[in-house]
Amino acid sequence: MTSPAPRSLPARLVALLTHPVTAIAAIALVVAAGQILDQGFWVTLATRAAILGLAALSLGFILGQGGLVSFGHAAPFGIGAYVVLIAGEAGVRDVLVLLPLAFLGSALFALPTGALALRTRGVYFIMITLAFAQMGYFVFSALSAYGGDDGMSIAGRATLLGARVFRSDGALAWLSIAVLAAASLFLHRTVGARFGHVLRAARDNEARTAALGFSVFRTRLAATMIAAGIAGLAGALMAEQTGFVSPSLMNWHRSGELIVMVVLGGSRRLSGAVLGAIVVVLVEEFLGEATEYWKFGLGLLILAVVATRVVDLPRLLGRRA
């Protein structure tokens, strides 16, 4: 669908800022600058933003397009990380195997849990997704072979066709950005394709969509599995970056944090999630350095965003969202 061309300058700015390429390009720029100026910290921070942006993007897909408010998205994220840990212990280290494996592992987790959760609606859906994520948290806490409660270091960074390219943080940063870009491109296509339309139609009017002949349940289940798979990719990359995997990756705090990112960026727009992730990572890093009460600052930010959205900022600036 073609949106009407924005006219006024502020409208153009908003359009540019919310363009799906902008956030990813910004992350890439920081990585490039960090490499050129030899600022390892920038590279690390940008990688973190890309990874969390990837996880938030996948949540934004089911939350924004599907209207499915999952409060358990940390579960597929954590499972992706554990796939890297467990496969690494088994001697599988190649990224071309690890990433598909992480995607599959998380998507498969979403098959039975999603099928059950999707039988509920509204607040029950929120609660059941939370419950499944907590179950995952305790299952991995009980896996003493893989560090139990405390977690465990991964055997080593992944390889690419046997070459140990990802020993450098820079290479891992570019890998993360590439995965984010690919996932973003795929999801944007999907949103405009038939699948995205059916997903949104079911969000707006489930009875109508079913009466037209679409299986709402199967569409939502597929969307949930895709989103979980992408979150699994993010988890795998997170395990690579920190070199450490623990059940705290799938703590409910993280599920909440992902929702915050999606809401901050604007849930109806797919590209908003990456923007939201960047903001949260920055606030956490710089406000967190200044004060241990940084979450207070994040809270104020959320309040500000939610309050201004009531006024509907884009419309205020002369453009319909």
């Binding site: 405009g192 949104r200 139609a201 969509t209 009466a211 679409f214």
Partner: protein, 250 residues
Amino acid sequence: MSEPILRLDDIQKRYGALIVSDHVSFSVGAKEIHALIGPNGAGKSTLVGQIAGSIRPDAGRVVFDGRDVTGLPVARRARLGLARVFQTSNVIAGFSALDNVVLAAAATDGTSFRFIRPLAGERRLRERAAASLERVGLAGRETILAGALAHGEKRALELAMGLVQEPKFLLLDEPMAGTGREETERLTELLASLDGKIPMLIVEHDMATVFRLAHRITVLIGGAVAITGTADEIRADRQVRSAYLGEEAP
């Protein structure tokens, strides 16, 4: 008459002590426009729900196009060719009028699983959808958000969504509810033009519409079929006159 498109076979449904479908049996012929009338609370909407698949009967069978569909969900029945126009305007409010119909047309392929190709680029669907909008008198309103259409236009849009699917059967639950006189007449003529092409079951309060369209009429009173017959037979029936038609009968 050849094999009926829809046959209700001893349908029973109760909510607690309340019997809403009391051994209901009737059929809609392959080329028939059949009207279902009855006073408020007669169980018409429950029956429509059982035909469409959103409500399961406690006992009895729904046979559609020669096939027992009693256990099939809504979406499966729709894919078999059963198109439904809801009692209350039921469109995707956030989609444009055209996209609503495009979506309906897409549903005839029976799958949502196309991830890459933009829906806007599925030309064949768009052409069918635009033609269907024109047919119901909504040409020129394609880009308006469905939620912003006037009430009568939404009814017409729903009809366009039904027709674009080239259904084997149209299930119309009070299609004229809340539309103006002129609109009602236009929609009635449109439905009349489909006479002999698409069989229909039409639940309607507007008696002028019912008598204009229906080949046969089934009267539902207290969950049970009081009588099924032609317009003249219904008009002549004393029981129906006193129970339902009253002064409304022309």
